[in-house]
C-alpha cells in the first residue's frame, strides 16, 4: 500500500527514519482532499443536471435557508479534521526540528553555488556529504552569502540556510545509498545547479572512509615517503592557493580535481577534447583561459611569473602522482553533480563554463 501510493504520487524513496510517517500523513491528507473535491464536484454536477430549467419561462424558486445545525455540523466537522491534521503535523514538525541529543554534528557552509561539509574530526568535503547509516546526523548550517535551502527529497527534510545564523537540521539515513541534495531557495544564476549528494555508508565503510579522509595525505601512487617532489608540490599547491579551487580527492570544486586526471582525455568547454599531460597542465597554469575544462567557470587567474619553474615542476609531479587515484577510491562517485557538470559540454553555449566573469563567483572573490 505504501509503495503503491508512493509511486502514484511520484514521491522519491523513503531513505530517512522520518520519511515513512510523514508520507503516511501525506497520503491521508491528499486522499481526503481528492475525495472531498470529488464529492463537491459530483454534488455540483448532480444539482446542475437535476435542477436544470425545463421551461422557457423563469419560475419562482423557493428561498431555502440552510438550517444552522447543518452548517455547524459540516464546518465543525471540517474544522475538527483540519485541526487534527495540524496536531499530527505539528508533532511531526517538532520531531523534524529537534535533533536527538546523541546526534553526530557536521558543519555545513553554503555559498553560491556549493555545499561545504566539515566534520568535527577534521576532514572536509564539497557537495558530497558522507554519513553513517542508522545514526542521527545533525547539520549545523550557515551561509556565506545569500539564503540557500538544504533539501534532500529522499529524507523529506528541508532547512533554509541563512547568513548570520546557525540553523540546524537532522536526519538518520536508514539504508546505504545516495540521495540528492538540492538547493530549494532561489540563490542566483546557478541556483538550479547547486546540487550535491548525501552518501550513506554502513558503519564499517564509514569508519574506513573517515580513517582515509583523516589520515595524513599519503596518497596511493604517491612516490617516495612523503618527502619527494610530489610532497613538495602539495606544499606549493597549498601555499599558492591552488587547493582553494582544486581538490586532491576526486571531488569536483570550483575547478576540476587533480585526482585521476593525468594521462586522461577530457572534454573542453568549446566542445573539443584535450589530453591532460605536462604540456596542457603547464599551459593551464600560465594561460588558464586558453583551454577551459568542460563544465567549469573560466575564473582561474594566470600564474605566469608567480610560480617558479621549480614550483611548476613540483605541481606537475603532484598531479602525475595522483593519476591512479580515482574518485571512487575516496568517496563513491558523485553521479548527479558530474552529470551536470558535463552536460554543458554538448553545446558550448550557456552552462557552467560560459558567461561567468570572475567577480560573479563570490567563492573566488571572497
Amino acid at each position: 500500500m505504501n509503495e503503491l501510493l508512493r509511486n502514484a504520487l511520484a514521491l522519491p524513496p523513503q531513505s530517512s527514519s522520518i520519511a515513512r510517517e510523514i508520507d503516511t500523513l501525506h497520503y491521508t491528507v491528499i486522499l481526503t482532499t481528492i475525495a472531498g473535491v470529488t464529492i463537491a464536484a459530483l454534488v455540483t454536477a448532480v444539482f446542475l443536471i437535476r435542477y436544470r430549467r425545463r421551461s422557457a419561462a423563469i419560475p419562482l424558486t423557493p428561498r431555502v435557508i440552510l438550517p444552522i445545525w447543518l452548517e455547524v455540523v459540516v464546518f465543525g466537522g471540517l474544522l475538527a479534521m483540519f485541526c487534527a491534521w495540524w496536531l499530527v503535523g505539528f508533532i511531526q514538525y517538532r520531531k523534524i526540528q529537534n535533533p536527538p541529543p546523541d546526534a553526530m554534528p557536521i558543519y555545513v557552509t553554503a555559498k553560491q553555488w556549493m555545499w561545504k561539509f566539515a566534520y568535527p574530526s577534521g576532514p572536509t568535503s564539497t557537495d558530497v556529504l558522507v554519513v553513517p547509516v542508522g545514526r542521527p546526523v545533525k547539520l549545523i548550517m550557515t551561509s556565506r552569502d545569500v539564503i540557500h535551502s538544504f533539501y534532500v527529497p529522499q529524507f523529506r527534510i528541508k532547512q533554509d540556510v541563512v547568513p548570520g545564523r546557525a540553523l540546524t537540521a537532522w536526519f538518520e539515513a536508514i539504508e546505504p545509498g545516495t540521495s540528492e541534495i538540492l538547493c530549494a531557495e532561489y540563490c542566483g544564476a546557478r541556483h538550479s545547479l547547486m546540487r550535491g549528494q548525501v552518501v550513506a555508508l554502513t558503519g564499517d565503510d564509514y569508519a574506513r572512509w573517515l580513517d582515509a579522509a583523516r589520515a595524513p595525505l599519503v596518497l596511493p601512487g604517491a612516490k617516495g615517503d612523503g618527502h619527494g617532489l610530489a610532497e613538495r608540490g602539495r606544499q606549493v599547491a597549498a601555499d599558492r592557493g591552488c587547493l582553494r579551487c582544486h581538490s586532491l580527492d576526486g571531488s569536483a570544486f570550483i575547478g576540476p580535481t587533480w585526482a585521476g586526471v593525468f594521462g586522461q582525455r577530457r572534454r573542453t568547454a568549446d566542445g573539443g577534447e584535450v589530453l591532460i599531460d605536462e604540456a596542457y597542465l603547464t599551459q593551464s597554469m600560465m594561460e588558464p583561459r586558453a583551454v577551459i575544462a568542460a563544465g567549469f567557470p573560466a575564473v582561474m587567474p594566470s600564474y605566469q611569473g608567480v610560480l617558479t619553474p621549480e614550483e611548476t615542476s613540483a605541481i606537475l609531479e603532484l598531479i602525475r602522482s595522483l593519476r591512479e587515484v580515482s574518485p571512487a577510491q575516496v568517496v563513491p562517485p558523485p553521479a548527479v553533480p558530474l552529470e551536470f557538470r558535463e552536460a554543458p559540454a554538448a553545446g558550448p553555449g550557456p552552462g557552467r563554463a560560459a558567461g561567468v566573469v570572475p567577480g560573479s563567483v563570490p567563492g573566488g572573490a571572497r
Binding site: 455540483t44 419560475p59 428561498r63 440552510l66 505539528f90 529537534n98 539564503i147 540528492e180 541556483h191 538550479s192
Partner: protein, 565 residues
C-alpha cells in the same frame, strides 16, 4: 476638491425623478445616451471621471498585462521542455520568471477584478451615480500606468532576477537592476490603495436610500473586504520593497547580517503584505462567483450572511497567517504551530463559501451558460487548490513541499484556477451590461472547457513534480523530472490557445455581437435594472432596493425601461 463631489451624491437619489432628465440640455430628447457614446473622442475618455469608462480602461490595461505575463509563462514553459540548458541563459530565465511573477501578481491579479468589475459594478450595485472620489479613481488609473511603465522600463533596462518575492539578501546583492522594478511595484501599490480607499468610502457613503448593509449584493461585501486589506497591508509592501531598493543601491545593510541586519525580517515584512495579497486576489473572485450562482440558478443564496461574513473573516484572519511561508526559514517552533493553526481557520471560511454556492443550486432553476461553466470549473479548481492549501499549512508536510513545484501548483490552482477563471466568468457575465452586446454562447462554452482542460494538464503534473522534489525557479533539472515537465508545457500551450480564442471572439463580439437586452440573464441583481449599456448616471430611474438582488422567490421588479438609443 474631491470633497465637493461627495455631498451631492447621497442626496441625489432622494428627489423623485432626477435621473432621466438633467443632462443633454440642448435637445428635447429625454433619453440619455449610454456611457460609451455620451461623449465621443479620445480626450473625453482619457479625462473621464465616469467609473464605467475607467473600468474599461483598466480592462484594457490588465488584459495587456495578462498577455505580457502569459507570454513570459509560455517562454518559461518552452525552456522547461528541455532538462538541460536551452533557448536562453540561466540569467535570462531567472529574469523571465521574475517578470512573469511581478507582472501577473501586481499588474494583473491584484487590479484585475476590483479595478475592472469592482469599478464598474460597485456603484451600480449601490444605486450610486459614481464612486465617492471619481477623480481619485481616474488618478489611480494613471498611477497604475506609471507603475507599470516603471516596471517595464526596469525590464528593458536589464530586469531584476530576484523572483517576485525579492528575498533579501539576494535581492540586495543581485547583479541585476532591482531598483526600478521594486519602485514600479511600490507605485502599483499606491494605485491599489487609492482604489481600495475609494471603494470603502463609496460603500459607506453612497448606498442609495433604503439600501441597508444586509441588502447589498455579496460582490460588494467581497470588494469591501478586499479594499480593507489593500488599504491596511499595501503600505507594508511599499516599506519592504523600498528597504530592499535602498539596500541594493546604498548598501544600508538593513537585511545584511554582516552589517547587523536580518534577512528573515524581510520575509516577515514581505509576507505580511503578500499573504493577505492572495486574498486581495481571490476574494473578489469569490464575489463574482457569488453573483453568477444565484443569477443562473434563479435562486436566493442559501445563506447570505455566511457568504458576507466569511469574506470579512478571510480578510481578518488572513492578516494572521503570513508565518506559514516561513516554516523552514528558522522561525520558532511555537510560531510555526500558531501560524499553522490560524491557517486552518482561513480554510474554514473558504469551505463555508464553497458549501454555500453548491447548496444554492439545490432546487434552483439552472441554465447552463458560459459563466456557469466557469463556476463549475471554479468550484473544482478552487476546492482542490484550497485543500492543497490545508496540506501545505500542515507544518510537517510543508517541510518537504516548501519551495517546490507543489507550492507552485497550489497557488496557480488558486490564482489561475480561482481568480483567472472567475475573471473570465465575470467578463462573460457582465459583457452584455458593459458593451450592450452578447458574446457567442457556443464559442464561450467551448473555450471555457478548453481553459479547464488546459489548466489541469498544466498544473496537475506540477503537483507530482513537487512531490518528486523539484524545487521551483529551476533553470535546469534532473532528467527524471522530464516527462512531467513536458506534460505541463503542453497543457500551458493549450491554456494559452483557449485564452487567445476567448480574446478573439470577445473582440469580434464588441462590434458584431447581437444587441444585448437590458437583462439577458433574467437576473434580479441591481446592476441589471439599468439599460445595457447603462447611461452615464447609471440608472434611468433611481434604484429601488426594496426588492433585493436575490429575490427569486418573488415576482420580478418592474421591467427595465426601454433601452435608450
Amino acid at each position: 476638491m474631491t470633497l465637493t463631489v461627495v455631498p451631492p451624491e447621497p442626496a441625489s437619489p432622494e428627489p423623485p425623478p432626477p435621473a432621466p432628465a438633467p443632462p443633454l440640455g440642448a435637445e428635447p430628447a429625454a433619453v440619455e445616451l449610454d456611457y460609451l457614446r455620451a461623449e465621443p473622442g479620445i480626450r473625453s475618455w482619457l479625462t473621464t471621471t465616469d467609473h464605467k469608462r475607467i473600468a474599461l480602461m483598466f480592462l484594457v490595461a490588465v488584459t495587456l498585462a495578462l498577455i505580457l505575463g502569459g507570454t513570459f509563462a509560455m517562454i518559461l514553459r518552452t525552456k522547461l521542455l528541455t532538462p538541460g540548458p536551452a533557448l536562453m541563459s540561466p540569467m535570462t530565465y531567472n529574469r523571465m520568471f521574475t517578470l512573469h511573477g511581478v507582472v501577473m501578481v501586481f499588474m494583473f491579479m491584484i487590479p484585475a477584478i476590483p479595478a475592472v468589475f469592482g469599478n464598474f459594478c460597485l456603484p451600480m450595485m449601490l444605486g450610486a451615480k459614481d464612486l465617492a472620489f471619481p477623480r481619485i479613481n481616474l488618478a489611480s488609473f494613471y498611477v497604475y500606468c506609471t507603475g507599470a511603465a516603471l516596471t517595464l522600463w526596469g525590464m528593458v533596462h536589464g530586469g531584476a532576477d530576484t523572483g517576485w518575492t525579492f528575498y533579501a539578501p539576494y535581492s540586495t546583492v543581485s547583479p541585476t537592476d532591482v531598483a526600478p522594478v521594486a519602485f514600479g511595484v511600490f507605485v502599483l501599490g499606491v494605485s491599489s490603495i487609492m482604489t481600495g480607499l475609494n471603494f470603502i468610502a463609496t460603500t459607506h457613503m453612497l448606498r442609495t436610500r433604503g439600501l441597508r448593509w444586509h441588502d447589498m449584493p455579496i460582490f460588494v461585501w467581497a470588494i469591501y473586504a478586499t479594499s480593507v486589506i489593500q488599504v491596511i497591508a499595501t503600505p507594508v509592501l511599499g516599506l519592504a520593497v523600498t528597504l530592499v531598493a535602498l539596500d541594493h543601491a546604498l548598501h544600508m545593510g538593513i537585511f545584511d547580517p554582516a552589517l547587523g541586519g536580518d534577512p528573515v525580517l524581510f520575509e516577515h515584512l514581505f509576507w505580511f503584505y503578500s499573504h493577505p495579497a492572495v486574498y486581495i486576489m481571490i476574494l473578489p473572485a469569490m464575489g463574482v462567483i457569488s453573483e453568477i450562482v444565484p443569477t443562473f440558478s434563479k435562486k436566493h443564496q442559501s445563506s447570505y450572511r455566511a457568504l458576507a461574513y466569511s469574506s470579512l473573516g478571510i480578510a481578518f484572519i488572513g492578516f494572521l497567517t503570513w508565518g506559514h511561508h516561513l516554516f523552514v526559514a528558522g522561525i520558532s517552533q511555537f510560531d510555526a504551530g500558531v501560524f499553522g493553526l490560524l491557517s486552518m481557520f482561513v480554510a474554514i471560511f473558504s469551505a463555508i463559501k464553497v458549501f454555500t454556492w453548491i447548496s444554492t443550486l439545490y432546487r434552483g432553476s439552472i441554465t447552463f451558460n458560459t459563466p456557469m461553466l466557469y463556476f463549475f470549473a471554479f468550484v473544482y479548481l478552487f476546492a482542490f487548490g484550497g485543500m492543497t492549501g490545508i496540506a501545505v499549512a500542515t507544518t510537517s508536510l510543508d517541510v518537504p513541499w516548501h519551495d517546490t513545484y507543489f507550492v507552485v501548483a497550489h497557488f496557480h490552482f488558486i490564482m489561475i484556477g480561482g481568480t483567472l477563471t472567475a475573471f473570465l466568468g465575470a467578463i462573460h457575465y457582465w459583457f452584455p451590461k458593459m458593451f450592450g452586446r452578447m458574446y457567442p454562447e457556443r464559442w464561450g462554452l467551448v473555450s471555457a472547457f478548453l481553459v479547464f482542460a488546459g489548466f489541469n494538464l498544466t498544473f496537475v503534473p506540477q503537483f507530482l513534480l513537487g512531490n518528486a522534489g523539484m524545487p521551483r525557479r529551476y533553470y535546469s533539472y534532473p532528467v527524471r523530472f522530464h516527462i512531467l515537465n513536458v506534460a505541463s508545457s503542453l497543457g500551458a500551450y493549450l491554456l494559452a490557445t483557449a485564452l487567445i480564442l476567448t480574446l478573439a471572439y470577445l473582440l469580434i463580439s464588441l462590434r458584431w455581437g447581437a444587441r444585448a437586452p437590458a437583462n439577458p440573464w433574467g437576473s434580479r441583481g441591481f446592476e441589471w435594472r439599468s439599460p445595457s449599456p447603462p447611461p452615464v448616471h447609471n440608472f434611468v430611474t433611481p434604484l429601488d432596493p426594496t426588492r433585493g438582488p436575490y429575490a427569486y422567490d418573488e415576482p420580478p421588479p418592474d421591467e427595465v425601461p426601454p433601452v435608450s438609443t
